[in-house]
Symmetry: C2
Subunit: 244 residues, 2 copies
DNA sequence: GCTCAAAAAATTGTCGACAATCCTCTCGAC
DNA sequence: GTCGAGAGGATTGTCGACAATTTTTTGAGC
């Protein structure tokens, strides 16, 4: 089962400079990044002593990291049997997308109520950039703008709780962002949906903003659902982006 | 006479008496319960060694517990300065209620799609019980039925992600459930709202179920908002329940 | 060759000890 | 009397060692 691990370069300890003081936090960030960015595969075992030597910290520190990551939903931990990178199924990815959508709709509502003029201007400007990217056919730039717009809406909502939950859900989804499909022609509709959202926020129309975001995100979820069922029949569609 | 102690084998193993092995999990549950149920006050310092002796476990175990509780949002932890019970402000309580509402609306939608006949029957029955309690003026029983109904809707949704997030939010709110106000006359409207939710789920009308739950929860949030602003002017209203 | 049991290895769970850091209180200077 | 420096105590951060448990390997019997 366990293939011999590739020549994973055991990176030398980083935090050992003058003090080695921030080693624990640094190590936590690195381990989390390794999981989120997919450098550690799902279901891969996380042996405490191995991580300890790889990250240059003691086993106790690794243990607290794993406890945190478990509560974040990034690893699973069975008593006396160790921790493994959590496997997120496609069904779960759909669930996460739905939950995130419900919370982002709340964020859009609050953004309509609490957004500052500067934040609204940033949204409008981002929307313009997205339009340019779309016309140029640069989907990567479009996706970046899309991410910036959503982040700004969450920031403008002033809703710490929603922001915290969304951030947690996003971390579990990163692996899938690059596996979901952008169905042809979705971009144009996606852009129209975003425009409606920003329009509603600008008019401080909370109900309209929430509804527009919900409408948008229901389409995202539909797209994801169609993608998974399509993949079930017909494997290996070209991976692409789904635009939130 | 044996002066020498009997050759009792070394008892240096973990735990006291028979239940030693579950000590850690048991201790975690107890500490969590002490925080959630309010036996530990907000902002109270949580000194590791004190907790260790109080719970009968080592300091390392306490440390991992605190890490988990921090990630759960029940404890705040400043580096080198220890952990304290997290203080949830009333503004934060409102945020949590809003986020929970957004997720419960999603749950209601999914319950309309995936609920089994047995679950629907349970909901209808619970609704009947709530009606009886309401007529009898037994608000405590009404609140219990209310909690059972919401729990069943979440169960029927088959939505693990929403269930997990809602459970986390609920834990942070327990202290406030007994501090929020039931404004006079709210019960009757609350019951009508619940009836509409169950009706929609029974008809497998996902949109209607989501909308009904959203409508219901917006009223709950409004009630909570009015309560906090009313308390700001005029202290010491009689604490009571707010019915979800 | 296969199955099952016991030994061996690997890994996790727990504890106490020590170092690093923060907090408090005293004491002296002005 | 107030302020600041420093000693002393309290608390957290980290590590290594050992016990408990799980997993793998070994070996006997059929």
């Amino acid at each position: 089962m366990d293939v011999v691990p590739p020549p994973q370069p055991v990176r030398a300890t980083v935090g050992r400079d003058g003090r080695g003081r921030m080693a624990a936090d640094e190590a936590y960030a690195r381990l989390r990044d390794d999981i989120v960015k997919g450098r550690l595969m799902p279901n891969e075992r996380l042996v405490e002593v191995d991580l300890a030597v790889a990250l240059g910290v003691g086993r106790t520190a690794v243990r607290t990291m794993l406890a945190r990551l478990e509560q974040e939903g990034l690893v699973v931990h069975e008593p006396n049997r160790g921790a493994r990178v959590r496997m997120v199924t496609e069904a779960e990815a759909l669930e996460i997308t739905q939950a995130r959508g419900a919370l982002e709709a709340l964020a859009a509502r609050e953004a309509a109520l609490h957004g500052t003029p500067a934040e609204l201007a940033f949204m409008r400007e981002t929307l313009t950039q997205m339009s340019v990217s779309l016309k140029a056919g640069d989907l990567l730039a479009y996706s970046d703008g899309n991410a910036r717009l959503h982040a700004k809406i969450i920031e403008a909502s002033r809703h710490q709780t929603a922001a915290r939950l969304i951030a947690g859900l996003k971390a579990q989804m990163v692996r899938f962002q690059y596996r979901t499909v952008l169905v042809p022609g979705r971009s144009a509709r996606s852009f129209a949906e975003h425009t409606r959202i920003v329009d509603a926020i600008e008019m401080a129309n909370a109900d309209a903003a929430e509804a527009a975001m919900r409408y948008h995100l229901s389409h995202v979820a539909d797209t994801l659902r169609e993608m998974t069922s399509a993949r079930a029949q017909h494997r290996a569609l070209s991976p692409d982006f789904v635009h939130f």
